[in-house]
């Protein structure tokens, strides 16, 4: 074999190269990645990129209110004369922040509980955790998120807490089912027979095999969470005015339909674009991992 003469490639690198190759061979997945990266870039540098950064706050200029899209205001202006594009950039930042916050709060809790319940299945720990989880799944998630968010002072942090309260059980469920099926795998049985500790088995043998579906779900959920967050700010639970959020921009804009259609339509389109990006990315990841699993 000729390959043995060359310095052997590091297996992990090789694997990632192969995965990247599979991922990038689908143009839609690449598009998704590009959209997500682009949006993240805009969100991070919103202050530098927005044409009128001060329009994101309390700013009134009734002279230029309700202007249709033009070169000066690419997405038009709203009823207070604020540049909609600038407000969209800041709204995007908030949306992504909420998404990350929800995942950051919900996923670690959900995955950890799922790992514990799944590994110690059929014990009191399993029962306790899964019954506790059922509690949070007894009513539609959006309702729960609303109830929780409404208890606190309105703002994007508590909106995220509300959504996370309704969200983590899904990760517990997913991880639980992954762990229960993975722990019947022979390599896990073998590690048990060999005397490995529970921590080693959970972290080294089970988690690496469960991580890709969790990752994929996170990417797909990001879109869903952003829709939900925007729905919540739509009714006033979320970022408080005058700070911009995509949902409230849409909901406030509806009363200006149909004459000033750009007020709600552009923010709504941006939500669609964000969700589209994350969904394309998530689907791409799922395909890569699904092929890997074969």
């Amino acid at each position: 074999m000729t390959s043995s003469k060359i310095r052997p490639a590091r297996p992990r690198e090789e694997r990632m190269k192969r995965q990247w190759h599979k991922f990038s061979s689908n143009p839609l997945s690449l598009l998704g990645l590009l959209v997500v990266l682009g949006l993240a870039f805009i969100a991070i540098f919103a202050g530098n990129l927005a044409p009128y950064p001060d329009h994101a706050g309390l700013y009134l200029d009734f002279k230029s209110a309700n202007q249709a899209p033009s070169w000066r205001h690419l997405a038009g202006t709203d009823e207070y004369g604020r540049d909609i594009l600038s407000r969209m950039f800041y709204g995007l930042r908030v949306s992504l922040a909420i998404g990350l916050l929800v995942l950051g709060l919900g996923v670690p809790i959900g995955v950890l509980l799922g790992l514990i319940a799944g590994y110690y299945r059929n014990t009191w720990m399993d029962t306790a955790i899964m019954r506790f989880t059922d509690l949070f799944m007894a009513i539609p998630p959006l309702i729960l998120a609303l109830v929780v968010a409404a208890m606190f002072t309105p703002g994007y942090f508590f909106a995220a807490v509300g959504i996370a309260t309704a969200w983590w059980p899904w990760y517990t469920r997913l991880t639980y089912s992954l762990v229960t099926s993975l722990s019947t795998e022979l390599y896990v049985r073998y590690a048990e027979l060999g005397g490995a500790k529970a921590r080693y088995i959970i972290l080294k043998e089970i988690l690496p095999n469960a991580i890709s579906p969790i990752f994929t779900k996170m990417s797909l959920d990001m879109g869903m969470i952003i829709i939900i967050a925007s729905s919540m700010s739509f009714v006033g639970l979320g970022v408080q005015p005058p700070a911009p959020s995509l949902g409230s921009m849409v909901s406030n804009g509806i009363k200006y339909l149909p004459e000033f259609w750009w007020i709600p339509v552009f923010p709504a389109l941006l939500v669609v674009l964000i969700v589209l990006g994350f969904n394309l990315l998530g689907d791409g990841l799922r395909d890569v991992f699904a092929i890997e699993e074969l």
Binding site: E185, L193, G195, N209
Partner: protein
Amino acid sequence: MSTTGETLLEVRNLRKQFNTRYGALIAVAGVTFRIDNSEIFGLVGESGSGKSTVGSMIAGMYASNGGEILYRGQDIDKPAAKRSQQLKREIQMVFQDPGGSLNPRQTIRQILSFPFRVHSQSKRGKDLENEIKTAIGKVGLPLSYLEKYPQAIGGGEKQLVCIARALATNPSFIVLDEPTSALDVSIQAKISNTLLELQREFGLSYLFITHNLCLIRNLVHRTAIMYLGQLCETAPTSEFFSDPLHPYTQMLLSSIPVMSEAEEQYKPQEVKSVGEIPNPIHRPAGCGFHTRCPFCMNICKTKEPEMVEIKPTHFVCCHLHKAPA
């Protein structure tokens, strides 16, 4: 090839019951046998016979519901978590499905380093490296395989890795649960021969579990046959095949499709396969085999037969055969 005659492992009246949602499944209903030092002991049976359950209990997958497992005279009937490190080193297991027994997220190197990590914490760096190289060398795989992931190598090679991993702790006894059933014939041959060579080289003892009688014939020293959780017959392999006494043994032998006239000689002619294997949840009363046995008598339907030694080292559990006076 010959054994030292010293008992390594002894199983006495072992029982295991699983509670399913359809009722109690008695997987193992009182099994007794012993395995000597450096002996390959074969356990044959069809699905539902409980042969794998016996192997799993010996390997420490779970505890029994009764009976004893004695290893070097010491009771080891408990799950692996409660066994001593020394014991876990001594008794190893190789599973049927080599693909499933290797973590797809680990390289062969990581997989082979597992036994050293768990059992000899002192081994680090160069020492560990040498041990891993020795381990993979024992089964004749090239060193370049250490960097590969399991899915990049063939089924037979995966099984060799599993064997290498089992050998890494220098065990005395290995439970082989259908180690070649998932493999092609041409690859099965290679694995079987490797197992035989290793047994001779290191004086290992095997419990070889399989449904393939032809493999048993060519590999093991002593054979036991199981049906519905009980042993039917135990004998040295050559005698097991030349003079099968239990009707089930005869039925099984006569069912094997063979490739040459020479082999036809070994097949008993009088017993033809009939009926289905009963569901172990609804085990027939008396002798478990009576529903399919061509020689079934009235006593078989009510009374369980007992294991008797017909000839030295040849045991049968059947009402047809009485112990010689």
